[in-house]
Amino acid sequence: MHIKSMLHRLGVAVVAGTMLTAAPALADDEAEHFIQAVLDEAEPYLDAPDQETQFDGIRQLVDKYVDMRRVGLFTLGKYARRITPEQKQVYLPLFKEYATGIYQDSLSTYAGEKLNVTTSIDRSTRDIIVNSEIIDAEPGSQLATMVVHWRVYRTRDGDLTIVDVGADGIWLAIEQLEQFTSVIANNGGPPAGVDALIADLKEQVTE
């Protein structure tokens, strides 16, 4: 009896311990379905033989699903609170144009491929990472082992949007944040630095 109760206690302790230490980040089915639907919608565009159709399709999807305003402010880092309303009015549309171009460039890498959602990890209930992989990629090719991550943001109203995309641990908005803050800092900080950033973006977009 004594031993049995010891064992029982041990069992409880082990279970409790596992729950405490493992505490696995939970998957988020809704976010997974959301990204899978976006990927399914992207498939015909990625299958298109010409780049124009691919780019048009990616632009439509970006317009529909990526919260560019949020990403645009995020990429300003600590300067997001120091940008003037006038600057913001110019900056946000420019950023959207610039970032859409990067999305087009990056996502068309997967032209002719089919991406499928594999897993998800919720960093919080509003901040979810969804992973996807290329199915039937040519064995041994770089794409075969590549994981494409989607950072999904759940708004207060419960709507899902995309705020970043990455491949093998390298994220686009984070890279943009480091570039933008570097430009602002190296041009004397706000407000002049923000003007310099806006000028650079203008140049990039019109090129």
Binding site: D105, R123, Q142, I170, I174, E178, T181, S182, V183, L197
Partner: protein
């Protein structure tokens, strides 16, 4: 279709070395995360890691001048005069020649299973792979992995130190730089003191430079064209890919800048 930014990202991850070594504790990843989380000032992560930015940017300019004047034209000529399969063969050959260094580092890190894989690869590829031109070991299911002394130092607990950009060496950290010197010393070919060995070393270094630069012609051009700050952009790609490498190829999502940053923007109308 042009080669895209992420191809470079993946390439960086590969060349920088897909370290599967067990890394103990507070390391780059943690330091990087610390920087990123720094009182919501996400960009300070980069600056904390790069206290020598002024020096690094000068070296970066020197590098780019050499690169566009000599390396890119050479890499283009190399591409024009060789077949894809020949270039693959040379990459294999150079990788095989690096095997002793990988083996020593596997052993120094106590990674005995990986060490035996490295030794088997060397044996197979040097014999039935025609001295390393082919990679039959890969098809036999003995995968290639990279390892270097910088990684070994990381395993031993050495801190990364500041970001460092050196002409021709590319992005690194102090630890990576010290590691490169260690790797040179570990190369058996360095210790053979004959003229023939000397020429072999120089030719190998030259060939390695070309073989490494050639597949990067488009991705690097792509990044330069698409970035507002080429230096900051490359630094970010390097730091992000290295963070993953330190985590042994696993992607750690805990270190990302907080989405709370996004959330606050709800009020920023």
């Amino acid at each position: 279709m042009t080669i895209k930014i992420w191809t470079l990202a993946a390439f960086l991850t590969l060349t920088v070395g897909a370290a599967h070594a067990q890394i103990s504790d507070a390391d780059d990843a943690a330091a990087f995360a610390e920087g990123l989380k720094n009182d919501g000032a996400a960009d300070e992560g980069a600056t904390n890691q790069d206290p020598w930015e002024g020096f690094n940017r000068k070296m970066f300019a020197v590098n780019n001048a050499i690169d566009s004047a000599a390396l890119v034209p050479a890499a283009k000529a190399y591409r024009a005069t060789t077949h894809k399969k020949q270039r693959k063969g040379l990459r294999n050959l150079l990788a095989n020649a690096r095997t002793p260094v990988i083996l020593i580092n596997d052993l120094l890190q106590g990674e005995f299973k990986r060490a035996s894989e490295t030794a088997s690869r060397f044996a197979v590829n040097t014999t039935i792979g025609f001295g390393g031109m082919g990679d039959p070991a890969e098809r036999m299911g003995i995968p290639q992995h990279s390892e270097d002394f910088g990684q070994t130092l990381a395993v031993w607990g050495a801190p990364p130190g500041p970001y460092l950009f050196m002409p021709l060496m590319g992005p690194s950290t102090i630890r990576g730089g010290v590691g490169s010197i260690g790797d040179i010393a570990m190369d058996p070919a360095v210790w053979i003191r004959t003229d023939a060995a000397k020429y072999t070393r120089y030719s190998r270094a030259g060939a390695a430079g070309l073989a490494l630069r050639e597949p990067l012609i488009e991705p690097l051009q792509d990044i330069e064209d698409n970035s507002l700050d080429y230096y900051a952009s490359l630094r970010s790609f390097y730091m992000q890919s290295r963070k993953r490498e330190i985590a042994n190829g696993r992607t750690n999502f805990d270190d990302l800048p907080d989405i709370g940053d996004f959330e606050e923007f709800d009020e920023l109308e």
